[in-house]
C-alpha cells in the first residue's frame, strides 16, 4: 500500500508542473496576441485620443477592469452599492485606457521582448517583458488571471504597479468620504483634460 501511495504522490507531483506550464503557456499566448492587436491598432492611430477610442473595445475585452477597480479601491469596495460599483468600474476603465494611450506617440511603436513567465498560483501568471520604446528600455510585467479566460489584471512598469498606485490614492479618498468621495475624485479626474 505504501509503495502505491508513494507512486501516486510522485505521479501527482510530476503532473503538477505540466498543468502549470500549460496554463502559463495559454496565458502567454493570450498576452502576445492581445499586445499585437493593440500595437496594430496603434499603428493606424493618428494620435493618442484616437487610439484611446479605437482600442477601447479591445482593451475592455483583454483587461479585467472589475478586478482592477475592486483591488484599487480595497476593502472599502464592500460598502459601495451595486450601482456605485458599476459606476466606479466605468470611470476607472476610462481613466486607465486614457493613461495608457496617453503614453503613446504616433509613429513610435514599442519593441517587446518576452521573458520568463511564472505562475505564483495555478490561476495566476506573471509575464515579464522588456519593452524598448523611444530609445529607452523598460521592464514591464503583465499580471494575468484566469477569470472567464485569461485577462490582464495589472501592469507593473519598472516596479510600479498600476493597481497599487491607485490603491494608495483611493484609500485617502475613501477615508475622507467613503464611496462618494472615491466616485467624486474619479469623476473629477476623468473630466479633467
Amino acid at each position: 500500500v505504501k509503495t502505491r501511495s508513494v507512486l501516486l504522490a510522485l505521479t501527482l507531483l510530476a503532473a503538477i508542473p505540466n498543468a502549470f506550464s500549460a496554463s502559463t503557456a495559454d496565458a502567454e499566448a493570450f498576452l502576445k496576441k492581445s499586445v499585437n492587436e493593440v500595437v496594430s491598432i496603434a499603428k493606424s492611430s493618428p494620435n493618442s485620443t484616437a487610439l484611446a477610442d479605437s482600442a477601447r473595445p479591445l482593451l475592455l475585452k483583454i483587461i479585467n477592469f472589475d478586478a482592477m477597480t475592486r483591488r484599487a479601491v480595497g476593502p472599502g469596495w464592500r460598502q459601495f452599492t451595486a450601482e456605485q460599483q458599476k459606476e466606479a468600474i466605468r470611470l476607472f476603465s476610462t481613466l486607465i485606457i486614457r493613461t495608457y494611450s496617453g503614453k503613446f506617440t504616433p509613429g513610435e511603436l514599442p519593441e517587446i521582448t518576452y521573458k520568463a513567465a511564472n505562475s505564483p498560483t495555478p490561476e495566476r501568471v506573471e509575464v515579464s517583458t522588456t519593452t524598448l520604446y523611444k530609445g529607452s528600455r523598460y521592464n514591464v510585467i503583465y499580471r494575468l488571471e484566469e477569470i472567464d479566460g485569461w485577462r490582464i489584471t495589472d501592469v507593473v512598469i519598472e516596479g510600479v504597479s498600476m493597481v497599487a498606485n491607485y490603491r494608495t490614492q483611493f484609500d485617502a479618498e475613501f477615508k475622507q468620504g467613503g464611496a462618494d468621495a472615491v466616485l467624486g475624485a474619479l469623476k473629477k479626474s476623468v473630466s479633467a483634460p
Binding site: 501511495s5 476593502p75 493613461t99 522588456t130 516596479g159 510600479v160 504597479s161
Partner: protein
C-alpha cells in the same frame, strides 16, 4: 535522543513510586531494568553483575512512551490513519497536540493537510505594496506644489527650448557622454553591493564606449548583449541592499521625491560623479556650469517626462508620485 532524555524523567517518577514498591512487596516479575534492548525483567529482583542500571517497577516503566519530556495535556489515543484514506480532515487544535506525539504516520498527515492559511482578502491584496511613513506630509505637499509650479513654468520651457535648439541625435550624444562619465557612481556602488560581475561588466562598457564610442558619444555597448542591460546602481540602492530602510518620505525643493535614505545616498552619488569634481579641480565656476548645464538639461527632460507620466490621470498627484517613487526604488534595490 528523546528516549534518553525521557529516562531521567522516568527515573524521577519511578523513585517516587519505589516507596510504594517496598510497601507492597511486588513479585520479581514486576521489577525491571532498562537495557539498550528494551525493558527486561530483573530476574531474582537483583541487578546483573557489573551493571550500573537502576531497578524499576514495571507499572512505572511500561507507559513510558507516553511520558515524553513535554507531556501533552490531552494525550488522546491516536489511531494510525490507514493510508488507503488519503483525504485527511483539517486538523483541529485539540488534535494538534496529538500530532506532537511520536507516531510518524501522523506527521505525514500533518504535512498533507496544513492548517488552512488565513484567507487573504482579495480586495486587500495591494495594501502593503507601497507604504512609507510620511510624517511631514503637510510640508511635503507644500514643496510638491512649489516643484509643480517650477516644473511647469520654468523647467518645462527650458527643456522644450533644449529640445528645440538641439536635434535629437545631439541630445542623445550629450546624454550618452554624461552617462558614460558617471561610470564611477555605478562601478563603486556595484562593488559596495558585492556585485563584482556587474562592476566588471560596467568597466568593460565604459572602456568600449569611451574608445570605440569616441569618448562615450556613441553607446556602442548596446550592440553587445551582455553590456546592453546592466542593472543601474547608486548609493541609495547600496544602502537598501545593506538592509537600511527608507526612513521617512521627503519632497526636496527642485529635486523632488526622495526617502531619507536616498537623500543621504544622493550625497554619495554627488561625491562619485566626476561632473561634480569639476568645480573642485581648478575649473572656473562658469566653465563647470557650462559643462554641467547640458547634463542638468538632459536630466530635466527625462524627469519632466517621468513626472508627467506619474501625475497625469492621477486622483491625487502627490500620493501618485509618492507611491510610484517608493515602488520604483524597491524594484531598483531588488535587482
Amino acid at each position: 535522543m528523546k528516549k534518553f532524555l525521557s529516562i531521567p524523567l522516568v527515573t524521577a517518577l519511578v523513585l517516587c513510586g519505589l516507596n510504594t514498591v517496598s510497601a507492597n512487596n511486588p513479585s520479581n516479575d514486576d521489577i525491571v531494568i532498562i537495557t539498550k534492548d528494551g525493558i527486561q525483567p530483573a530476574r531474582s529482583g537483583k541487578l546483573p553483575k557489573n551493571s550500573n542500571g537502576t531497578l524499576f517497577l514495571r507499572s512505572a516503566v511500561e507507559p513510558a512512551p507516553k511520558a515524553t519530556p513535554k507531556p501533552s495535556p490531552k494525550p488522546k489515543p491516536t489511531p494510525a490513519p490507514s493510508i488507503s484514506k488519503p483525504t485527511p480532515k483539517p486538523i483541529k487544535p485539540a488534535q494538534k497536540t496529538a500530532v506532537e506525539s511520536k507516531d510518524p504516520t501522523i506527521r505525514i498527515q500533518k504535512k498533507a493537510a496544513p492548517a488552512p492559511a488565513p484567507a487573504v482578502d482579495d480586495l486587500d491584496e495591494y495594501s502593503q505594496v507601497a507604504n512609507i511613513p510620511d510624517p511631514a506630509e503637510p510640508l511635503n505637499r507644500g514643496t510638491f506644489w512649489l516643484n509643480h509650479q517650477l516644473y511647469n513654468y520654468l523647467l518645462r520651457p527650458v527643456s522644450k527650448a533644449y529640445e528645440f535648439i538641439l536635434p535629437s541625435p545631439a541630445r542623445k550624444a550629450i546624454h550618452n557622454v554624461f552617462e558614460n562619465v558617471e561610470y564611477p557612481v555605478r562601478v563603486v556602488n556595484h562593488a559596495l553591493q558585492l556585485e563584482f560581475k556587474r562592476a566588471d561588466l560596467e568597466t568593460r562598457k565604459f572602456v568600449v564606449n569611451s574608445v570605440a564610442g569616441v569618448g562615450g558619444v556613441l553607446r556602442v555597448s548596446d550592440r553587445i548583449p551582455e553590456l546592453a542591460n546592466i542593472p543601474s546602481a547608486d548609493t541609495g540602492q547600496t544602502f537598501a541592499k545593506w538592509g537600511i530602510g527608507h526612513g521617512a518620505y521627503v519632497v526636496l525643493p527642485v529635486i523632488g521625491p526622495r526617502s531619507v535614505r536616498d537623500t543621504v545616498g544622493m550625497a554619495g552619488d554627488y561625491a562619485l560623479n566626476p561632473v561634480s569634481w569639476l568645480s573642485y579641480g581648478g575649473v572656473t565656476g562658469a566653465a563647470a556650469l557650462a559643462i554641467s548645464g547640458p547634463s542638468a538639461a538632459r536630466n530635466m527632460n527625462e524627469r519632466i517626462n517621468l513626472y508627467d507620466a506619474a501625475t497625469q490621470n492621477a486622483i491625487d498627484p502627490y500620493i501618485a508620485v509618492r507611491t510610484g517613487y517608493i515602488q520604483y526604488r524597491e524594484k531598483a534595490a531588488s535587482k
